[in-house]
Each structure stands twice: as structure tokens, then as C-alpha cells.
């Protein structure tokens, strides 16, 4: 096949049928995984990432702790079947270490680490499927996992990837688009509009940067809405389960049926 796939055609549609500023489908699953204190699975289109958070807890090695704050430890495991070409990446792969370092530096100012001196918060990221926007998905999933773990945060961190196709900005890129276009990832804290991460590995003309940067910050608000909704639904479900348990013990069975 020699026909090139158009990144953005004349009708304003991208290769997967989205419009220019349209984000991919987001699904959030906050159910408990294993023995983790908090966990979240987020899907952006075909990119699926699962994050488990343990902590704050006693550190593996006392020598790595800080006397006045908690230490964030991020470990990433990329499944060999996650990309189109199956490739087994070792845990010490440079790209993976860089990704882990980005996530750690993103959350360092957001997690209220000073509340837990001499302890460690472990964040384990498992990449199940990759179709572009990996850093974005990892950061969003980490935020949700930290929230479900009950780790105090200053605010949500919402990340979005974006790119520029000649002069037109696009949001939430797939692998195809990431390979072809200059792209960046922006992570914002929605309430204060503060940006905790901006990263770009390609080259982009400085005149184009402003548009895509502002657009990405706005897109962070949209993602924030989705995340808040998912957290609220989960909390309502948990509170409902707790209430039902309380009712069972205090009210006699006949009266309980009428409650429903």
C-alpha cells in the first residue's frame, strides 16, 4: 500500500475520524487491583494504562528516605504486547527511566509529601496498550490512583498531548500522528491553572508553540471534568455500600426492605 494516510484532510477530519480539537474516548476504572492502596485504569482511545499506588508506607531502604518528607518512587512496566511490534523492554530502558522521571517530577510539587516524613509512596505503572499519548495517560492514571489511595494532593493533575500539523494545532495524538508531527505533553492543575509539566522531544517553531500550549491547558479542564465525575461516582458507590452495611446491622429485616 503506497497511499499515505492524511493527518488532517480538507474536511477537517483526522485519520481516525476525529475533528481537530477532539479528544479520544476516555474510560476510567477505579476498582481495586490486588492489594494496592489505590489503583486506576485509564483508557484514551486505544492507549490503556494501569497505575497502582502503595503508601505512604515504610520505605524499602531507610537510606533513601528524607527526614522531612515522603519519597515518591515511580516504576514503569511496559507489556511486550502493548505496541504494534512486540518488543520486550527491560526495566532499565532509557526511555522508560525518562518517563518515570517525568512522572516523578510532575507529582513532586503536587503530593503533600511533608505530611509523611521518612516514608515512601510507591507508584507502579503498567502500560497495557500504547497508541500515542503515553505520558498523558500515565499522568492521568497516576492522579486517579493517588486520589483513590487517599494520598493528599494539592489538586488533580490533568495531562494532554498535542501537536501541530503545518499551522494547525491538534489534540490527543495517536501513534501515527505522534510519529509525524512535532508534539508536546502538558500537565496542568485545573483549579489554579498552574502547569506542572511541559515536555517536548521534537522541534517546533516558537510561533506555533503558544497556540498549542494554550489549547492544551484548556483541554486539561475537559479531562478534569471526566476525572472528577469518575471519582465522584466511585465515592457515591462506596458510601452507598457503607450505608447498606450500617442499615443491615441496625434495622430489623422487614423494615429494611421498605427502605428500598
Amino acid at each position: 500500500m503506497s497511499s499515505r494516510i492524511e493527518i488532517l484532510n480538507d474536511g477537517g477530519f483526522r485519520s481516525d475520524g476525529r475533528k481537530q480539537y477532539e479528544l479520544r474516548d476516555i474510560t476510567i476504572d477505579l476498582s481495586q487491583q490486588g492489594t494496592a492502596d489505590g489503583s486506576a485504569i485509564i483508557t484514551h482511545g486505544l492507549t490503556q494504562v494501569m497505575v497502582s499506588v502503595f503508601g505512604p508506607r515504610e520505605a524499602k531502604m531507610r537510606s533513601q528516605t528524607l527526614h522531612d518528607r515522603a519519597v515518591l518512587n515511580v516504576e514503569i512496566n511496559v507489556a511486550p504486547f502493548s505496541t504494534g511490534d512486540r518488543r520486550k523492554r527491560s526495566r532499565a530502558d532509557r526511555r522508560i527511566l525518562e518517563l518515570a522521571a517525568s512522572i516523578e517530577s510532575t507529582f513532586e510539587p503536587v503530593v503533600q509529601t511533608s505530611l509523611y516524613p521518612r516514608s515512601q509512596i510507591d507508584i507502579y505503572v503498567q502500560v497495557l496498550q500504547q497508541d500515542g499519548g503515553l505520558l498523558q495517560a500515565c499522568i492521568n492514571a497516576t492522579t486517579l490512583a493517588l486520589v483513590t489511595a487517599g494520598v493528599p494532593l494539592l489538586d488533580f493533575v490533568c495531562a494532554v498531548s498535542g501537536g501541530v500539523y503545518s499551522t494547525q494545532p491538534l489534540l490527543d495524538l495517536t501513534t501515527l500522528e505522534e510519529n509525524d508531527l512535532p508534539n508536546l505533553t502538558v500537565a496542568v492543575m485545573p483549579r489554579t491553572q498552574k502547569v506542572t509539566l511541559v515536555t517536548m522531544e521534537t522541534r517546533l517553531h516558537v510561533d506555533r508553540f503558544r497556540d498549542i500550549f494554550e489549547l492544551a491547558c484548556q483541554a486539561g479542564q475537559t479531562i478534569h471534568k471526566e476525572m472528577k465525575r469518575a471519582v465522584k461516582d466511585r465515592t457515591v458507590a462506596l458510601v452507598g455500600a457503607m450505608d447498606t452495611g450500617a442499615k443491615h446491622s441496625s434495622v430489623d429485616p422487614d423494615a429494611m426492605m421498605e427502605d428500598r
Partner: protein
């Protein structure tokens, strides 16, 4: 993909097929099966009531554990008696490499059984894309000697009464490459479905400890 759980133990297994060349690559006639196991979180939890502590499990020990499980899975699944029949694309030239990757998402014991359950489920769902052997025959030099345009002229070639390049009857012996007849076709099911094994682990509890338990009651 198949997702299997066993209470606190969760394993995710996925298969991927890759084309392998026997002459230039590692391909084997009839295809081959390769398995791998990796951990999601840093290792099994030995105490359920306490949060995960791996102070006794260094990364070396973890790699060894990973290797042990990989070997168990690999040696069982790739046994010749279980080898699927439809992993050949072109005999002696190209074949499928079946990669079975398992990720242990949570381990609360008996990971081996869960691994085999997940592997079996993943292999059961695997579909091998249908391929068709293709060979291109260039027309012989003597017949195009008179052409002004040379051998690349399509119209003149068709006028020459040689055997058509698309005649597939004798092709299987001499085929050089393959194509996918239908892009959207999922393919045929991986053969040998009914033979994939299920693992049951038997643990021997010492008789002395059973006696102690009985006496306490």
C-alpha cells in the same frame, strides 16, 4: 487478550504473531512458540495482612523468579506434542512466531495455576491470519529483446504467451513471498485448541502440622 483472576491473583496474558524468515532470521520450519512472564508490581506479597514488603526481595531475586516462571511456562507450552499445525506460511521460508506474554498484575499465591489458565485462554482465542503464497516470474530475456521499451513495458509482456504470473497451482513449491488475501479477515483459529493444558498445583502440608491443628481443636 484474556484476563484471568484467582481471588487475589491476577494474570493478564496476550498472544502476538510475528512473521519470521527461516533463512535470515530465527525461524524454524513449522513455526515456534515463545513465552515470557513479567511482573507488574514489584513481586508477590508474602503477607496478606501487611502491606507489600519486598525488603527481602532484591531485583536480582525478582529477575530469577521471573525467569523460573518463564521457563515453566515456556517448556510446557512449546512442547512438541502441543505444537499447533497452522503456523507455517511458506514451507522452508517463512513461518509464524507465536509470542505469548503474561503479566502478573497481582500475586496472592498460586501464580502458576493462574498463569496457565490465562495462557490457555489467550491461546484459545488466537486467530492466525490467512495467507496466500505469491510468486512473481519475470518474463525471459529472449522474448523481450525486440522491445524498444524493455522488460518494464507491461503491455508487451501480457501479449507474450508465457505462463501467467498469477497461476498458483504450482506455486507452493517455488513461492517466494506471501500476501494477506483479505485485510479485514481475522483468520483461522490456532490449531490444537483442545490440547492446551490446565495446571493444578498440589502442595504437601507436613503431617506433623496437621496433627497440631487437630489437637488444638
Amino acid at each position: 487478550m484474556a484476563h484471568e483472576g484467582g481471588g487475589g491473583t491476577e494474570v493478564l496474558a496476550a498472544t502476538k504473531l510475528e512473521v519470521e524468515d527461516m533463512e535470515t532470521g530465527d525461524g524454524v520450519d513449522g513455526g515456534r512458540v515463545v513465552c515470557s512472564v513479567s511482573w507488574c508490581v514489584s513481586g508477590p506479597s508474602f503477607k496478606l495482612d501487611e502491606p507489600l514488603t519486598y525488603s527481602h526481595l532484591s531485583s536480582n531475586a525478582l529477575d530469577e523468579l521471573q525467569h523460573d516462571l518463564t521457563v515453566i511456562l515456556q517448556q510446557t507450552i512449546s512442547h512438541p506434542s502441543l505444537h499447533p499445525q497452522n503456523l507455517t506460511i511458506i514451507p522452508r521460508k517463512k513461518s509464524w512466531l507465536l509470542n505469548l506474554d503474561a503479566v502478573i498484575l497481582a500475586d496472592a499465591g498460586n501464580a502458576v495455576d493462574a498463569l496457565f489458565m490465562a495462557a490457555r485462554a489467550a491461546l484459545w482465542d488466537t486467530k492466525v491470519p490467512r495467507t496466500r503464497a505469491v510468486e512473481y516470474n519475470a518474463p525471459e530475456a529472449s522474448q523481450v529483446a525486440g522491445d524498444s521499451a524493455g522488460a518494464m513495458d507491461v503491455d508487451n509482456r501480457e501479449a507474450i504467451p508465457t505462463v501467467s504470473g498469477f497461476d498458483t497451482r504450482e506455486m507452493v513449491r517455488t513461492a517466494a513471498d506471501f500476501e494477506l488475501p483479505d485485510y479485514w479477515d481475522e483468520g483461522e483459529v490456532l490449531q490444537g485448541q483442545e490440547k492446551w493444558p490446565v495446571c493444578v498445583t498440589l502442595n504437601l502440608v507436613s503431617i506433623a502440622s496437621i496433627q497440631c491443628v487437630l489437637r488444638a481443636n
